[in-house]
């Protein structure tokens, strides 16, 4: 009985493969789980399928599991098995558990430390357990993984550094304005990144957005999309004074926003601060604008620099997260180890011996009139009682130890006698 991981991710497979192998709908996920359950030796399984990874977490006792799953998946997805195998990774036991912990806490994600993956894993686990595909080990594994993810999130600062251009722009805006609730923004030109930044501003509270574009129709469509107002391209300098945040990304060959224009705007808005985000290459905003008081200009490189330095910080935090993972991995392995027959028997015996020792110590005080030989006889008697008592359970446990569901009995005994899997009781 071991915990295994099979999967492919952005690190091992290009997007063409990932999208072929993805279980992109609940129905496919359902089919995938049924397929896995039919494979010989697989006791429990969870399928995690996101745009960056497809992974299967399973508990099995069959040595051929890698081969079997690869065959089933290649047939199901209609993809050449050799090709599939070249992208897959397989992990067992400690490596597998470590991998699950890392995935759950976002350490294996494309954007290091991103938090969505924990939720996605929770959904995947919920779905699998809804289909009765999970059991004793996977339940424990998943719950531990979520606990690890939570520890990583609260004990390290991995999530507190913005690592996308648009998010960095929003953070900077908050550093200047405190809140974006009553702020107005202007979008000059268009482009994927500029629109994304505008969207981020809106979700963070920006109420009004003015869209200026060389083609007025385009301005109208964008304005519609953002619930904003379109504006003729020629008119935008006059509107500068009304807005707090400007996102510029035009194809203009020269600076379209000059210090003179901004000076005028800032004067008529009585020095209320302005934030310019220049996403265009070549730049739209004269860098000298940044020298004006109460005006802040960030171009694409500045934002990227912030992103890079934040990524470095996340890297540092990831190292701390690894320590947490190692800690929890150790605890988990101890738990796994405690579920084999030998340590349980040892701790069970120790449990009885402790009782005997304690009770006998008390009794000996009252039996001071006895001779040493008599005490020895009583001691031997008590040991014999323990041995006889434990004989049948010991034989039973040894017999079932090769069975698949042995852990159920072992776990029950642990619970019954409140045995703890401590270091000393582990198998050598």
């Amino acid at each position: 009985m071991k915990i295994c991981v099979l999967g492919l991710s952005h690190k091992t497979a290009p997007v063409e493969i990932r999208e072929k192998v993805a279980f992109s709908s609940l129905q496919k996920l359902d089919e995938g789980i049924s397929l896995l359950k039919r494979i010989n030796g697989i006791k429990e399984c969870v399928i995690l399928s996101t745009c960056n990874r497809v992974e299967v977490y399973l508990v099995c006792n069959d040595a051929e599991w890698q081969e079997n799953i690869a065959t089933v998946f290649s047939e199901y997805h209609g993809i050449d098995k050799k090709e599939l195998l070249s992208h897959l990774y397989f992990k067992e036991d400690e490596d597998a558990i470590r991998h699950v912990f890392k995935v759950a806490s976002g350490l294996d994600s494309m954007v290091l430390g991103e938090p969505q993956i924990t939720g996605q894993l929770k959904e995947a686990y919920g779905f699998a357990s809804g289909k009765n595909a999970t059991g004793f080990f996977i339940n424990k594994l998943m719950h531990t993984a979520f606990y690890v993810a939570k520890r990583v999130r609260t004990e390290t600062k991995i999530g507190s550094y913005a690592v996308s251009i648009s998010y960095v722009a929003v953070e900077l805006a908050k550093k200047i304005f405190e809140t974006l609730e009553d702020k107005k923004a202007m979008l000059i030109g268009a482009g994927e990144m500029a629109e994304l930044a505008a969207k981020h501003l809106i979700t963070n509270g920006v109420k009004e957005i003015i869209v200026a574009n060389r083609t007025f129709e385009r301005a109208c469509t964008l304005a519609n999309e953002f619930n904003g107002k379109p504006c003729n391209f020629e008119e935008f300098p006059d509107k500068l004074k009304d807005v707090d945040i400007v996102i510029s990304s035009t194809g203009a060959p020269t600076f379209i926003i000059t210090p003179e224009k901004v000076k005028e705007a800032i004067k008529s808005r009585r020095n209320k601060p302005m934030f310019f985000i220049d996403i265009a290459v070549p730049r739209d905003i004269d860098p000298k604008v940044n020298d004006l008081d109460n005006v802040f200009v960030y171009d694409i490189d500045d934002l990227q620099n912030v992103v890079d330095s934040n990524l470095k910080e996340r890297q540092k935090e990831a190292e701390k997260a690894e320590l947490i993972i190692n800690e929890e991995l150790k605890v988990f392995k101890e738990w796994m180890g405690s579920l084999t027959v030998k340590p349980i028997l040892l701790s069970l015996r120790k449990y009885f011996e402790n009782i005997k020792e304690n009770e006998f110590k008390e009794a000996k005080k009252k039996l001071s009139h006895l001779k040493e030989e008599d005490i020895k006889i009583i001691d031997a008697l008590l040991n014999a009682v323990i041995n006889k008592t434990l004989h049948k359970p010991t034989v039973f446990l040894k017999n079932i130890s090769s069975r698949d569901n042995a852990y159920l009995y072992l776990d029950a005994i642990k619970e019954l006698f409140e045995l703890k899997g401590e270091h000393g009781e582990k198998e050598d």
């Binding site: 600062k157 405190e178 020095n271 601060p273 109460n294």
Partner: protein
Amino acid sequence: MESIFFYIGFGFFCIATFFFIIHLITLKNIWSGFGNYAILIAIVSYTLYLIFRGFIIRHFPVTSVHEGLVLLCLLLGILFLVFFHKYKLKVVGVFLAPLATFFSLIAFFVKQPPMPVLNTLQSFWLPIHVGSIFIGNALFSLSFVFSVVYIIENFRLKKKKFDNFGKQFPSLTTLDNINYMCIVYGFPFMTLGMITGAIWAQYAVGSYWNNDPKEIWSLITWMLYAAILHCRLISGWRGKKIAVFSIVAFLVLVFSFVGVTYLFKGYHIFRGI
């Protein structure tokens, strides 16, 4: 005997400073929480200290620079509590605690036993005059603190330098607004203090204006703060200019408060009271 309360308060301001520096480095809220309690203890000690001194001289105990500074630190501590709990601005402590420690240090060096108030100056105007002046001073100290933070933050945003250090600093807009608020609330207290001073002088010395160095420097300070309010309200100044202006005004204030007492002679040098 009552000195013990001064030393306890002084000690706890030092400890609070230490906690807030750790808070700044580790960004763990537990340290600012400790700092909060340290300042609370410091406030209680200083209050007891002033009460004891008041009992000894049977008057409002602001008869020396030493006592004035203690009162100032006490007010700074109270302002800190307001900002800490009402506005959740933990970072205020990072600057306020060292400032209070610094003023306490000066108070330590100029410490002197309580002195009775001269009969001629004994009047109910004394607590009103001195009290409002010091509330104004405390608010202006705070304005100074926020201005310094503003300058630092402004520099970092302009030069695009980021690190953990400033993560918990308030935004520029917040800093600018609080600075303005401090001056707006501090200015009437200072004005009140100066007017009551003039009235008191009229009664005690016979003339409301005596060309005393302290009077002159206070008037300069008052005019500087009036100018700041004017620039903000009429000319719409904001941000860096106001911050620099506030820092300059505060330095002049410190000079008129401490410097004048030791550099010039005059009836306003506390010891004469």
